[in-house]
């Protein structure tokens, strides 16, 4: 189907300005294929169904908008956690700040240095391509094409430590695309942590292939820089009896669009995706877009998203559960909630269920609310000052999402940061 002329023109103009990075032959092939997908789909525009609540303009434009750089904290997210550290500064690998990329149970290479790696050549771009149906995600294809670096992680056993990818910033105007591929062999486990604002404009893909009986844990914190713009995609294929869990914390940021596309292909698997975000001011726009496909029997999926918004901040949630014909005994749960700390903020939610099997339990809910006055009075009547009480109740609101993080130390790290943010952002 031909694209509308306006969209075709915009896409052509944008793609004409794209120079693909150099790399080995297989990578160039994958990049060209991805670019071809973008050209066919066209870049997203405001009138697209999946961009109704989020204006993609600043993610699509040829030039990135500058964003002030906040100094790196003394103890950035997850720094207390024992992990293999991989650091990118404005998207450029920082060898001095990174650990040696060797880890028991894992083989790891950087995308920019990848020679002929059969497994990666077979996988890179394929989950992204699968994820283009039934909903097109042209920005993901663009990222596959343009990514200059990333990690190719092959998990062959129990990863000895977590892998922590840190995205630092130094440049006010960097425009960065990274692409990671994670392949978990059957029965293996790994935890991947990501943190940092990444760049003025940061795009990332993570393709995760979870083989039977494997477990993938992902916890991410997207920095605290106010002006940064980010669009991320996770594509995962989830095998029999395996586990996929991903949690994202977003604090500040002018624009965030996090897409998570999960396809459960093996029976008795578990897929959880969750997130918490806090935003203050009209310059904050945060969008979680989730698509879970159940294509196997007896699987469980959970989506838990909580957003705290104030002073005109905007939160978006688009979450879909698709239960295919024959995916019986599916247990799908979806909740998206916002806590509006004043009357100016906005939460837009579009929960969707599409079910073709007759023996399933799917529930979804979406709410917007203010601080519970009774609870506030209860706390204050015990001597807790108004501000502290509001912080406590806001953390209480976020708790269900934070509980999705299996590792208590990681959850505590993020909870403390949230508490700090809430204390700083009250009148």
């Amino acid at each position: 189907m031909a694209l509308p002329q306006r969209k075709q023109d915009a896409t052509d103009t944008r793609l004409a300005a794209v120079t693909l990075p150099n790399g080995s032959a297989w990578l160039t092939k994958a990049r060209n294929a991805a670019l071809g997908r973008v050209s066919v789909m066209g870049l997203p525009a405001r009138r697209d169904e999946y961009w109704r609540f989020t204006d993609p303009t600043t993610l699509v434009d040829a030039a990135a908008i500058d964003a002030d750089v906040l100094p790196i904290e003394d103890n950035p997210e997850f720094s207390k956690n024992d992990a293999l550290r991989v650091v990118f500064v404005d998207g450029v690998f920082d060898a001095a700040a990174s650990d040696d990329l060797s880890l028991a149970g894992v083989t790891m290479t950087r995308l920019s240095q990848a020679e002929d790696i059969t497994w990666a050549a077979d996988l890179l771009g394929t989950l992204e391509e699968r994820g283009q149906k039934p909903v097109e995600r042209p920005l993901a294809a663009l990222t596959t094409a343009m990514a200059t670096d990333g990690l190719l992680i092959h998990v062959t056993g129990q990863a000895e430590r977590a892998i922590h990818i840190r995205y630092d910033r130094k440049n006010v105007g960097a425009d960065v695309s990274l692409h990671h591929v994670v392949k978990l062999d059957a029965g293996t486990t790994v935890t991947v942590l990501e943190s940092g604002a990444g760049a003025a404009r940061f795009a990332s893909n993570m393709e995760v292939d979870v083989a039977d009986g494997a477990a993938f844990h992902h916890v991410r914190a997207q920095g605290r820089d106010h002006g940064r713009r980010m669009n991320t995609h996770i594509f995962t294929r989830i095998g029999e009896g395996s586990t996929f869990k991903s949690f994202t914390l977003s604090v500040n940021g002018a624009m965030t669009r996090n897409d998570c596309i999960m396809e459960i292909v093996g029976d008795d698997a578990t897929a959880h995706v969750s997130g918490a975000c806090v935003g203050d001011g009209e310059g904050f726009h945060h969008d979680d877009t989730v698509f879970i496909t159940h294509d196997a029997v007896g699987c469980e999926s959970r989506q838990v998203f909580k957003k705290v918004l104030r002073n005109g901040a905007v939160g978006v949630f688009q979450g879909k559960i698709l239960v295919k014909h024959g995916a019986q005994k599916t247990d799908g749960y979806q909740i998206s909630q916002s806590l509006l700390l004043d009357g100016d903020s906005q939460f837009l939610a579009k929960p969707e269920l599409e079910i073709y099997a007759d023996d399933v339990a799917c529930s979804h809910g979406s709410t917007s609310g203010a601080i519970d006055e009774d609870a506030l009075f209860y706390l204050r009547s015990r001597g807790v000052p108004h501000k502290t009480a509001t912080t406590l109740l806001t953390l209480s609101f976020l708790a269900e999402a934070l509980q999705e993080i299996a590792d208590e130390a990681l959850a505590e790290d993020l909870r403390d940061r949230l508490a700090g943010w809430l204390d700083r952002h009250q009148h």
Binding site: Y378, S381, R382, S396
Partner: protein
């Protein structure tokens, strides 16, 4: 200790007067009980004293040791020594009972210019006091009042009271929803806190609680006023004859 003079209160949202001139004095170290028919204004009085929104004071005063209660924020009243044991304690998911208690204790200490309790001292104290109220470690770890039975919630109120060591304790129908054993446990907790420097105002519908928490004075409230005050025998009279005679007397 607590001195209420001519207190008049309206509901904020409606043109409805709830308290129509309450006079009540609770001297230091005494236990006073308030009984009265439903809708007589007992709970409203407890809320107004502790600073809940939704009420407008149209007249009168309420002071705690000479300090104007009505001019203060709820947290300031708490720091000044006022405590309300809620009829319906609020559930707060995601906030641990311990975190809540420690935040409250230290916030009050800070407001009074006292040193905050260290984590170790706090833990020691809360464990000892919880044990007396048969509150186990598991209950302390759980989110505030979430999944607590009616009895557990009320015991948790008394635990907070014990930790915060207020001067003036108001108990709003603390006996409601409690079985005989739970009531005994709660009453023992309250009695353990009785002292010369601490006063209690016990709001209840039933004389039975007053068998366990012996009051010095019993007040009968009706239609927004205290219509009669007397000794513990007044509670017995209500238990046997109801309010009809007392109300007729007042009319």
């Amino acid at each position: 200790m607590l001195e209420i003079k001519g207190l008049k209160v309206d509901l904020e949202d409606e043109d409805k007067s709830i308290l129509k001139g309450v006079d009540l004095t609770v001297p230091a170290g005494e236990v006073h009980a308030i009984m009265g028919p439903n809708g007589s204004g007992k709970s409203t009085m407890s809320y107004v004293l502790s600073g809940k929104d939704g009420y407008t004071v149209t007249g009168g005063t309420a002071t705690l040791n000479g300090v104007d209660l009505l001019a203060m924020e709820p947290e300031e009243r708490a720091a000044a020594g006022l405590f309300l044991a809620f009829q319906y304690p609020v559930e707060i998911p995601g906030v641990g009972n311990m975190t809540f208690l420690r935040t409250a204790v230290n916030a009050q200490r800070k407001a009074r210019g006292e040193e905050e309790l260290s984590a170790g001292d706090f833990l020691k104290e809360v464990r000892a006091k919880a044990k007396d109220l048969k509150i186990d470690a598991e209950m302390l770890k759980r989110p505030v009042n979430v999944g607590f039975s009616g009895g557990e919630k009320k015991r948790n109120e008394i635990l907070q009271m014990a930790m915060l060591e207020p001067k003036m304790c108001i108990l709003d129908e603390t006996d409601s929803g409690l079985d005989v054993d739970a009531m005994k446990l709660v009453a023992d907790g309250v009695n353990a806190l009785r002292s010369e420097g601490r006063s209690f105002l016990v709001i209840t519908h039933y004389q039975r609680l007053l068998d366990h928490i012996k009051p010095d004075v019993v007040h009968i409230m009706s239609n927004g006023r205290i219509i009669k005050s007397g000794g513990p025998e007044l509670a017995l009279e209500v238990e046997h004859n109801g309010y009809t005679d007392l109300l007729a007397e007042d009319a």
